[in-house]
């Protein structure tokens, strides 16, 4: 995704806008891996293969997302590690 998508992206659950962006891996203007954070409800949404995944909790795959978080462990904000929603990396380690 590109930065300008942030202008319209909102949390699918509470519609909070703007979302906070954490970039892990970029290629020129394109963000390939990263996280979008909702400061309202505390949910994170992964950006994988350049595509933000913004599904509701019941359609998210815990195993896949925790694996993604583990790959970027060093770049995660502490609140996602300790208290991430819907999945906590800390309790899975």
């Amino acid at each position: 995704m590109k930065h300008r998508l942030l202008k319209i992206l909102a949390c699918p659950i509470d519609k909070h806008h703007p979302l906070e962006l954490k970039e892990f891996e970029t290629d020129k203007e394109e963000i390939l891996s990263g996280l979008l954070l909702c400061s309202e409800c505390g949910r994170f949404y992964p950006i994988m293969e350049g595509i933000p995944s913004m599904l509701p909790d019941d359609l998210r795959t815990e195993k896949r997302e925790l694996e993604f978080l583990k790959v970027w462990r060093d770049k995660l904000p502490p609140e996602v590690v300790d208290d991430g929603r819907p999945f906590k990396l800390k309790s899975s380690e």
Binding site: M1, K2, L5, I8, L9, A10, C11, P12, I13, K15, H17, Y45, E49, G50, I51, P52, S53, M54, L55, P56, L59
Partner: protein, 233 residues
């Protein structure tokens, strides 16, 4: 079965099937629509999309609708949106310029109010979990000034005889045509009969749209088996 639409409890199963047929979906859709799908998509685009629009392609699948829009209006920006990652990957290969890709569902759109000039749903809205909630979410993200919802979809005739005819086509002919076109996996297309059964009749669908949008242009084709609608916010 008459309903107000949406796949409800069958949604996850149907989406699982769609993931398995993602790579051939487009090919088969062409055959089962009797080669009319592109013409109907073009009609929807002509009726509801303008130059310079910011568009949400909701339920983009492999990106067929967006590709048609960008070939007509290369300056438009499109967000291609689908719950299925395999579909988005396929769409990303098909459409590259002026496009962004987001994964999510109709009923929980991850966009701010008042964001898009047009939302288009090409053969996708019947796969919503809850049609009424989906339409309300679409209305929310459309711009207050001139926002339009463009729907190209299978239709369910109001006349019971025609309806039975179209239902039989979906039940018996579609899986057969799919098997002829793509082989053994074609049998999975029989799941699409369920999505058709769950879909509301044309009259019900039209009144659902009219209850949410002040101006609705609702056209049917092929004896009511196809719908091309533009709803203005």
């Amino acid at each position: 079965m008459h309903s107000n639409g949406g796949l409800k409890d069958e949604w996850e199963r149907i989406l699982g099937v769609l993931s398995q047929i993602a790579d051939v979906y487009d090919k088969v859709n062409r055959v089962i629509s009797l080669w009319q799908d592109t013409a109907y998509r073009q009609l929807g685009i002509r009726n509801g999309i303008s130059n310079g629009n910011i568009i949400l392609d909701a339920g983009c699948g492999p990106g067929v609708m967006s590709e048609l829009v960008l070939s007509r209006f290369p300056e438009n920006s499109i967000v291609l949106f689908d719950p299925i990652m395999i579909m988005l990957r396929a769409a990303k290969i098909r459409v590259s310029k002026n496009s962004a890709f987001v994964s999510g569902i109709f009923e929980k759109l991850p966009f701010s109010d008042n964001s898009f000039d047009a939302v288009m749903c090409g053969y996708s809205i019947r796969d919503a979990r809850d049609l009424d909630v989906a339409l309300k979410e679409i209305r929310r993200v459309l711009k207050n000034e001139g926002g339009r919802l463009v729907i190209v979809e299978l239709g369910k005739p109001d006349n019971s005889l025609l309806r039975r005819g179209v239902e039989s086509y979906w039940r018996f002919a579609v899986p057969l045509l799919a098997i002829i076109r793509v082989g053994k996996r074609g049998i999975l297309f029989s799941a699409l009969y369920r999505t058709y059964l769950r879909h509301p009749t044309n009259a019900t669908f039209r009144s659902m749209l009219q209850s949410l949008f002040p101006l609705v242009d609702f056209q049917t084709r092929t004896l009511g088996a196809s719908v091309i609608a533009v709803a203005h916010k």
